[in-house]
Point group: C2
Chain length 598, copies 2
Amino acid sequence: MTNKDARTPASTQNPTETSEAVEAGKSIGWHKAYVEGSRPDLRVPVRQVHLTNGQSVTLYDTSGPYTDPLVDTDVRRGLAPLRENWIVARGDTEEYAGRPVRPEDDGIKHTSPRGGLRNLDAVFPGRPRLPRRGREGKAVTQLAYARRGEITPEMEFVAIRENVSPEVVREEIAAGRAVLPANVNHPESEPMIIGKRFLVKVNANIGNSAVTSSIEEEVEKMTWATRWGADTVMDLSTGRNIHTTREWVLRNSPVPIGTVPLYQALEKVDGKAEELTWEIYKDTVIEQAEQGVDYMTVHAGIRLAYVPLTANRKTGIVSRGGSIMAAWCLAHHRESFLYEHFEELCEILAAYDVTYSLGDGLRPGSIADANDEAQFAELRTLGELNSIAKRYNVQTMIEGPGHVPMHKIKENIDLQQEICEEAPFYTLGPLTTDVAPAYDHITSGIGAAMIAWWGTAMLCYVTPKEHLGLPNRDDVKTGVITYKIAAHAADLAKGHPGAQEWDDALSDARFEFRWEDQFNLALDPDTAREFHDETLPAEPAKTAHFCSMCGPKFCSMKISQDIRREHGGSRTEIEEGMAQKSREFAAAGNRVYLPIAD
Amino acid sequence: MTNKDARTPASTQNPTETSEAVEAGKSIGWHKAYVEGSRPDLRVPVRQVHLTNGQSVTLYDTSGPYTDPLVDTDVRRGLAPLRENWIVARGDTEEYAGRPVRPEDDGIKHTSPRGGLRNLDAVFPGRPRLPRRGREGKAVTQLAYARRGEITPEMEFVAIRENVSPEVVREEIAAGRAVLPANVNHPESEPMIIGKRFLVKVNANIGNSAVTSSIEEEVEKMTWATRWGADTVMDLSTGRNIHTTREWVLRNSPVPIGTVPLYQALEKVDGKAEELTWEIYKDTVIEQAEQGVDYMTVHAGIRLAYVPLTANRKTGIVSRGGSIMAAWCLAHHRESFLYEHFEELCEILAAYDVTYSLGDGLRPGSIADANDEAQFAELRTLGELNSIAKRYNVQTMIEGPGHVPMHKIKENIDLQQEICEEAPFYTLGPLTTDVAPAYDHITSGIGAAMIAWWGTAMLCYVTPKEHLGLPNRDDVKTGVITYKIAAHAADLAKGHPGAQEWDDALSDARFEFRWEDQFNLALDPDTAREFHDETLPAEPAKTAHFCSMCGPKFCSMKISQDIRREHGGSRTEIEEGMAQKSREFAAAGNRVYLPIAD
């Protein structure tokens, strides 16, 4: 079955709406609507844009209940657990006491001179909950369900979101070509899918570091990122309060949350890589799985023998996880504990339906290091680990680079798809040049669009602060918007049915000078409106047949419209009016100048 | 001859420098230097970046004398005419009285209710000059010189800039694969070349409109754009004071200036397209050629018969010039006067060495219209006109789209190169999606990088204000930087020898925590420094082995360095230290897990 068969344009769907919401939304040009599935508790959110010509356009929506004026949200309470009934109804998981939360989970050790939590109020005050895991002998991952032919509510939800049949979703997950990250302990999340047959997804990284930022800021960054279109969020906190920050983020996140457990594990050994052990790492993974982390980056592909391959690199190892594991391997002169305990790790992840994101610890950090021996040696190991994970029914995606010049990008996705049996590729950019710090959202947006066109399923955003500092709120927005552009450009290039409807609606609005529609359909309506109003703030300019770019006399689209009006609207009518003249020209060979022979 | 044979890395050159300039420059990390050619008046400017490790990196420089502290510039006097002696020495041009400047050249007509120049001081006060043109029977274009085997000082200048042999420059110009826009009346310009064998170039558009901006602003935008790397500037003014604005811009511009004469011609007939005549257009071209415009966009490819092809388009005709000519053709029901008088126009352009930029009046203005019949019909006519222009020794480049989804980009450059006998392609973006007004520098930067990789010679920038309003100073900078990224990414992908040295130097600085070097080598040092200092403003942070992104404990590059330090710096040393362990692993088949068969 081709995509074309399976997909129908979003706008043919008929979202349910309350008149109150519609009226509230219309005043700002769009409102949150829901497409109902086969059961009343399966409601897929969409962004319904109301055009001034009476039509409407339905767009994919990642912003969660926060943009629904009829839902009362409170970050201290958390989001409603929309998947809880589905999970419980399957009857294959059980609640249990769970691992006790310890002070060191938040980086507080009696041996540490750093003292306690700065702000005890920071402990998440929401409803008490027990963690849940698969019952003994039960395979509770979406991959397991898909393999045995079951279409879960999560799959149906995703099918509606993507405008494909639920069977396509099931098939792609069963084949390992797509993942649906959905930890049983994160019932607040709205199901989404990552795979090359589906819309290209965007991840936004948030997280504090030892140097800066607070819990409140991270929760705010998460809701802000999803507001602008982030499909998943990774909490990469490395500073204090890691456990508590993550709890706040998870309980309030409508999108899957990813982490790198190694970062927290390292905090627990006071930053000394050589003191890491499998036991500490395993305990951290369970801690995070119980909280509800949906996918985890695991740097199990960086093996002892690969470390020397990086010695002559220009920028060594630039992945934090990669460098930690390399340091550990060298300190102990032994194979990575992640690699050696990979099967045990699979068993843990399977019990919670945590998805693997197999990390590329040896990704190139500069143009000079792209596609080198170290990088591809690790990729081959990731292929090996992908096969093992599948044996344990663990959903798996593969991380990719990094810094890669344009002519070396395609080899990355082609090789990954071959080695990893078409498992979803999840790339950071790639950055197509090293020379533009402060603009690496752009250097990488170029590479991201290209690699997504060629099959990458999810793009990890890069913000303007990359290489320079932690992104603030504005940087997060710029990163997300840039990557939504890359993702949508790829959707168009891949010919995803329905993708071009968005462009067409906006271009129609542009040609017909429906300025408000143009703003409301834009990826970032606020900035589009602000830029327009900078030179033409008056209300009449919103319906004017020109903008300040060319002024009224020179607007090409106005002239185009005048031509149509004066000479008839259709091609036939214009041709009719020109028939006589055309005949004259045809008689003269239709050219004034003859082409030159050489 | 391949590029590899012809080019040598920029840094192997030995720029002349005065110790005063070096000292002045060192305090800010770089200084303006010059590489001397075969004669003392042939001095090619470069940007010499001084690294804290004692090395230096030489970068291409477009900023003109303004960044040389030893040159006293004054916009009221204009730049020194560096090419004047070369032009005069050739003895094939002559000064003449020139066309008298009329009030309507600045949009002031007695029939107009709009009154006189707002500010009479605006008349350019610089040195009086007479226009110059080729003597009767003399071919004074760089193409003519190249064809007869002459290497002009302009060609030598360009060869030094591009690190190629002068003969390569001559060959590429003679073959029509490159242009060196250099009107004999713009002796202030520093020669540069546009062709696929050379570094990808970037054009920045400036110009007022009927709605906004002043002469001062436009001159400022021009120097600002070249400061950040614009290789040429197009003055697209459509409002008042067109002639005077252009005079100020030309006399102060170190880069070639392009225009669209049709815009000014239309002003002379009060914006009524149907009142345009060949005589008014021709007079405007001569007016601008006498001022020194280096290249002109001429929409001679939009023929009467093509207009109906646009009737069913989503966004009609979006080129201003295109829509004006279409309106004229339909109003008169006759063939375009530009097409009919093209040979006469060639004679005029040849006399001043004005380069053609054959406009794509039917470029697509939306994803829906990309690569359609109208667009490619016009392209075939541009191929025909390109051959005619070459007959008249007029240098010629071809303009390209526009809005094109990624999978349709390559067809544009491939077809253009075939139809136009490899004449330089000069594209606007292309924009890879329509859905992101306010971010079209990014939607188009993606397409620009790709099409440049595949052979486009010059990229016309798009600013964040595209579709919304006139760019201000910040927008101009953002547009230029975005396009320099696209151009450099393409230079890397094309494997231009020397191009990667810049990336390598910056990555070395990054890996070695030489923050100041990283900033000074950046495309935009100011913003890179500002972003870093936002979270770590203290001076010691400039030498710290971490940034606020990950903090001190998690810096992967620090860990990489620690690994090298502890285990020996070279691959051999690390391997040595690991030899024993490696042998053990080799004995065990070098893997813990065996690959799965299926």
